[in-house]
């Protein structure tokens, strides 16, 4: 069909505009920013003095980290009795906090790996900070089981190292699977993060005056020269790590859920746990990403890079996963009823209707299921105050979810004689508070010393970065450009048509 024919049909039917046209995408970087603008803006955060707000947040974070250290030292020097756990509630705030923090990490890996494999190019503005968040969250998470074992100086017994007793770990136990899952998760996330950082560290290196900073950036950027023969291997490696991290991240929270699901405790022994935990982890993690990235974007003037489109996309993921979590909550109740198992049903009735901790269940349900429903309405996804409010609700709600699953289930065990209402001690509370300080301290140091946005990756999604894009004025990356191949790969006949 020739262009002439198309024009004719247009004349006859003015309502129809001719050949179907691919809709223009929203640009990933606003205001047609240049490469050097992106470099200057992101490197400027590291090179310039930090705003006063950075110090206002950093000093309390360091103090809270000290509080956390104090609580752990007090715990070691006194004994685990300073925590609120007493039979039958042997797992309480510590395991709740562990699952809470490890879950937060999952959004980082989802953004860096799954969105990479699915070619979601908007990820480039948020993946670096989200991966940093993953690593710091896993560090916070790892502290709790390490101290929960009771004698933290014996924690190396978790590793399969030959020892004088010739005793090996029980590899059939989900708790040991957890050790392998979490340590693999931390290692792989760190490798992925570091590899992503290398080209950007080279950018910082090339901008520094000779001195300690230049030397340090120089060492960690490995002598990167942006050579295409390197990029070729590098992109393959990045793709491989994304492909490895994708099943890994799904396995980590599945294995965490096995800690509960493989037991025979009513309320824990359910097959819905792995997908339910993974959805919840992504849900809570995205809330934390937004909680961190919206202020970072505003304080450091990054709103051309972290645009309403990014926030809108993440709000939609929160809505989706929050609804999946709501489905899981309801399905748990239904299965408890449908199983006709009186113990199972009683556990859920106690959780939701007449137990001692129903308040926690209502917080969980309200924050996780109802609050995100606001995101069905577009103006709410574009109002940063509403987004922040919902994210805060989700952050709190996801902690309550783990508390409900872990502590309130154990409060009412099978034998009524051993029922006990759990109460957290000050050590529990301050340790948890302290981990927030530790997390914030690490994140603020990350802002101070490393590029918060992946400079090279953002440059790669600009319209002018596409070697086959002949219309540089076009807004955004077009679908046909993304799918374009070099001309010589197009068969001659096809090209002629």
């Amino acid at each position: 069909m020739s262009a002439e024919a198309a024009t004719h049909s247009h004349d006859h039917a003015p309502a129809y505009s001719g050949a179907p046209r691919i809709l223009d995408r929203e640009p990933l970087v606003l205001n047609n920013r240049s490469y050097s603008w992106i470099t200057n803006r992101i490197c400027g955060i590291v090179e310039n003095k930090q705003p006063l707000l950075w110090w206002i947040l950093f000093v309390p974070s360091v103090l809270l980290t000290g509080l956390m250290a104090f609580c752990f030292i007090y715990l070691i020097s006194t004994g685990v009795g300073v925590w609120g756990q007493k039979q039958p509630v042997a797992w309480a705030w510590d395991i709740t906090n562990f699952v809470f923090w490890i879950g937060i990490g999952h959004a980082g890996t989802l953004i860096s790996a799954i969105l990479f494999l699915t070619r979601q190019k908007w990820r480039t503005s948020v993946n670096r900070a989200a991966e940093a968040m993953t690593i710091f969250a896993v560090m916070c998470a790892g502290l709790f089981p390490a101290f929960h074992v009771g004698r933290v100086w014996m924690v190396w017994f978790l590793a399969p190292i030959p020892n004088a007793n010739a005793i090996w770990q029980n590899f059939k136990s989900p708790l040991l699977w957890d050790v392998f899952a979490v340590s693999t998760y931390f290692s792989v996330s760190a490798v992925f993060w570091f590899l992503g950082l290398v080209p950007d560290l080279a950018t910082l290196r090339d901008r520094c005056k000779p001195g300690l900073r230049k030397t340090m950036y120089g060492i960690f950027s490995l002598g990167w020269r942006g050579a295409n023969r390197h990029w070729s291997h590098y992109e393959t490696a990045y793709m491989l790590l994304a492909a490895l991290s994708t099943p890994l991240v799904l396995s980590v929270h599945s294995v965490v859920s096995f800690d509960f699901a493989t037991s025979i405790v009513p309320g824990w022994h359910t097959t819905i746990f792995p997908p339910y935990f993974v959805a919840g982890a992504i849900f809570g993690g995205f809330a934390m990403v937004l909680t961190l990235m919206i202020p970072v974007s505003k304080i450091y003037g990054l709103s051309d890079l972290i645009t309403p489109k990014h926030i809108d996309n993440m709000a939609k993921i929160i809505l989706l996963t929050g609804t999946i979590v709501g489905y899981a909550y309801s399905m748990e109740f239904f299965v408890a009823y449908y199983s006709a198992n009186p113990f199972e049903l009683q556990t859920f009735m106690l959780r939701g209707l007449y137990g001692p901790s129903t308040w926690a269940y209502y917080f969980m349900f309200g924050f996780n299921v109802f609050a995100p429903q606001l995101f069905w309405y577009r103006p709410f996804r574009h109002n940063l105050w509403v987004v922040m409010l919902v994210c805060m609700c989700v952050n709190a709600g996801m902690w309550f979810e783990r508390y409900v699953i872990i502590a309130t289930t154990l409060e009412r065990h099978l034998i009524p004689g051993s029922w006990r209402t759990y109460e957290a001690t000050w050590v529990d509370k301050y340790t948890f508070l302290g981990t927030f300080g530790f997390f914030m301290m690490l994140f603020l140091l990350f802002l101070r010393f490393l590029p918060v946005i992946a400079i090279g990756e953002v440059k790669g999604v600009l319209p002018q970065s596409n070697a086959h894009n002949h219309d540089h004025g076009k807004e955004g990356v077009q679908e046909e450009d993304l799918m374009a191949y070099p001309d010589r790969h197009v068969p001659r006949e096809a090209a002629a048509v």
Partner: protein, 198 residues
Amino acid sequence: MSTLKRVHGYLAEFDGAADIYHAAEQVRDAGYQRWDVHSPFPIHGMDDAMGNSRSVLPKLVFVGGMTGTCVAFTLQTLTQTNFWSSIGLGFLQTLAETYPTIVQAKPTDIWTLPAFFPVMFELTILFSAFTTLFGLLALMGLPRLNHPLFASKQFGKFSDDGFFVCIEARDPKFSQEGTKALLEKIGGKNIELVEDEL
């Protein structure tokens, strides 16, 4: 005191991704082998424009990953089951001083294998990831903190918004005049002879 210098190659700057893509095609067609494109981000399709072959990294990673699976299988069966003695390799268990762990009412023969899947999976991923990291470094020849290109004043722009082609002197087709003329012809700017101090 005089400094000995050796020519590393010619460095030329180009305007952007599309420009350097077409320049690379022409350098490739001129028959050069030892040359490279330096850019702030990977340019889509540049491997074809340069005539590079596919990275061998995935093959290395497959071997690394399978090593992880085997390590996990051996570690777990050796320390938990009587599998190795059942296939006549009991001396391995004697050597490692291990014996079947009889817990959880699970079998001590090979059929307890499903309980070992999670750790096998995790170690596969762990070994693959580290093979990716170290395999990548080996293939790239990094870390290499010193390189003749870093002596060039303009080369530092590559990590901001500079696009460069560097044709090395050790390429058999390299000549002071011919290579420079080619770079000029394909639109190279700020053409510079990069020298390596000996």
